[in-house]
Symmetry: none
Subunit: 401 residues, 2 copies
Amino acid sequence: MDIHTLTRELHIRNETKIVMLVADGLGGLPLEPGGLTELETANTPHLDQLARRGILGGSIPVAPGITPGSGPGHLGLFGYDPLKYVIGRGALEATGIGFALEAGDVAVRGNFCTLDALGNIVDRRAGRIPTEESAPLARSLREAKVEGAQVFVEPVREHRFVVVFRGKGLGDNVSDTDPQATGVPPLAPQARETASEKTARAAAKFVEEARRILASQKKANGITLRGFAARPNLPTYEEVYGLKAAAIAVYPMYKGLARLVGMEIVGSATTLDEQMGVLEANWPKYDFFFLHYKYTDSTGEDGNFAAKVKKIEELDAALPRITALGPDVLIVTGDHSTPSFLKSHSWHPVPTLLVSNCCRTDNSPAFGESHCARGGLGQFEARYLMTLALANAGRLGKYGA
Amino acid sequence: MDIHTLTRELHIRNETKIVMLVADGLGGLPLEPGGLTELETANTPHLDQLARRGILGGSIPVAPGITPGSGPGHLGLFGYDPLKYVIGRGALEATGIGFALEAGDVAVRGNFCTLDALGNIVDRRAGRIPTEESAPLARSLREAKVEGAQVFVEPVREHRFVVVFRGKGLGDNVSDTDPQATGVPPLAPQARETASEKTARAAAKFVEEARRILASQKKANGITLRGFAARPNLPTYEEVYGLKAAAIAVYPMYKGLARLVGMEIVGSATTLDEQMGVLEANWPKYDFFFLHYKYTDSTGEDGNFAAKVKKIEELDAALPRITALGPDVLIVTGDHSTPSFLKSHSWHPVPTLLVSNCCRTDNSPAFGESHCARGGLGQFEARYLMTLALANAGRLGKYGA
């Protein structure tokens, strides 16, 4: 069942404000069985007060046992079935560096490689060329002349860059040119269907041009292309929810994901404090605010329990600036768990808190995994969080008479 | 959504060991409202200790309110959607007596009946002929000569037997020959589609041969055939999970169900003690062990609360032999509930316990229905138990970047 079939029909516009605060990788684990998680260890007076006013639950990002990446994790929170809407590698890479993909664009990940005199690959990563050297080379590829498509090239890091082909009739069903081996030449890009032949020709021409432009290089004298992917065709927040939505994020990946669902990227905050300032400044202009906080994930990935605790406490300290604005619905959650015990994303349900004046409080004393496991929202699929948000904001009408 | 689409793509092989201990019909009910269930009444120090180290939940076999038979109950636990994968009556009957169905086989349940001189049915169950008399008669039907198909006949109990047709191009869409009435002759088997015509002809010939072979019998001088069913086409554990799986069961039905998903049937244990011995002996050879314990169901079906309590305590006493092996993931659950109060299978969620080093303990003090109802796994569909098992064993990669 596509929940958007319902929300398209039932949504109502009103003056309410919804805030979704996403602490990336929020969920955790104790370091020892029976111990406390990072969130339970942290001193979080404001979150705990919200927990007493609100309702808790565990958000299942994709399905029980399935660990999501950032793409599916956020799509779920935004109410888009992460099994239905898939963001291909090239599109995610372009999104991750903040490239504003348009409908019809085909993005692909490029790698610099080293070729020998015969054109065979000697090093698939061009000796892991440092970014200082590779970025100017990537930009030099913008000179490539390709008929039938506009080409954008953006540096990423080390041997990596992104290419975007823009034009009419560009399918994305094109094979990788990386042979995943050395001692052989790069493969030719092959269209797997008629609708992608134009893309394959453009890609082949781009590769040829790149060889010419890079001819004098020693390390990075060739390229390979992987993961051709069109901009995913996601309906917008405006269309499915009737929400004018703003995204306030520091990192390009999360701005990019928000842009894919039609949110406007507001401000250019680089700190949580600045994010709060952007929120306050834009409060009258939007219905929905997606606030992204990265550091709960990065400290978890580092396996640094104490640092994650500290980052949660910093987030807690910022909450009064949100509640002072008087949002009608405030949600605090994460796109997935990143327990420092595992040093990686995980499948565990994400502690989630929803506060509104009609949320049916569940008498949880504090915000933490064990209270969320027993919370009034139960263990629910993340993709239902948006319908819960809309309902609590009085923004969903009755289904059926 | 078919969860196997994800597990096929995401599974990882490693050295971990997973044990799924299925106490058939484990879930129960109190004899009086507010009382304790069989599991809560039983003295289960080892299960309670595991509950404190692990996470609890209620497993919903098919859907809320739906009571499963053994087939759907086990398919769910094995991670196969019991609404997608259906084991037809004939195939389940053959599986239940341990007949190793091959792909393309069509199994059907046979009943001896009594015919009068005109060929009309006088008794649909041949006077409930005792097994001692019927079994030799069933075996005598192996003499039947049927062109185009190899025929296997296996006695079951009383008037029942199983027939398996093996050959090329045998569809299973054939109508029953049992008219469900007396005073009329058995029906002719009818193919409901072209692909099943060969099967219908083979069945008609088999019925004719049976009449000849049984001509001198008084009670069992005819047969009817019901529930033509091909071997269900289930993907294997190896394919969908990357697991080399062993089944350690006493009863043929459970061995048969395990065989259908590609588990190897190991040992020939007839007691729980012997099952533990088989587990220990095969520990290095497999990734996954399905252990089946029957008596929690049979005592429940008998309506014998005290006996079910005792059988649970016997199971508990065996647990140290499992934990001594150090499984990375240990699951204790049932395929459905069989409350002795109801003397039958029921729809109630099945108490479920999962222990691993990263299972996010939920502080449950003991293993029992009321703790499971509030457990950290929530009330979940049984078909997700395998993804949870794989995740806890580090055997599932990330979905999406």
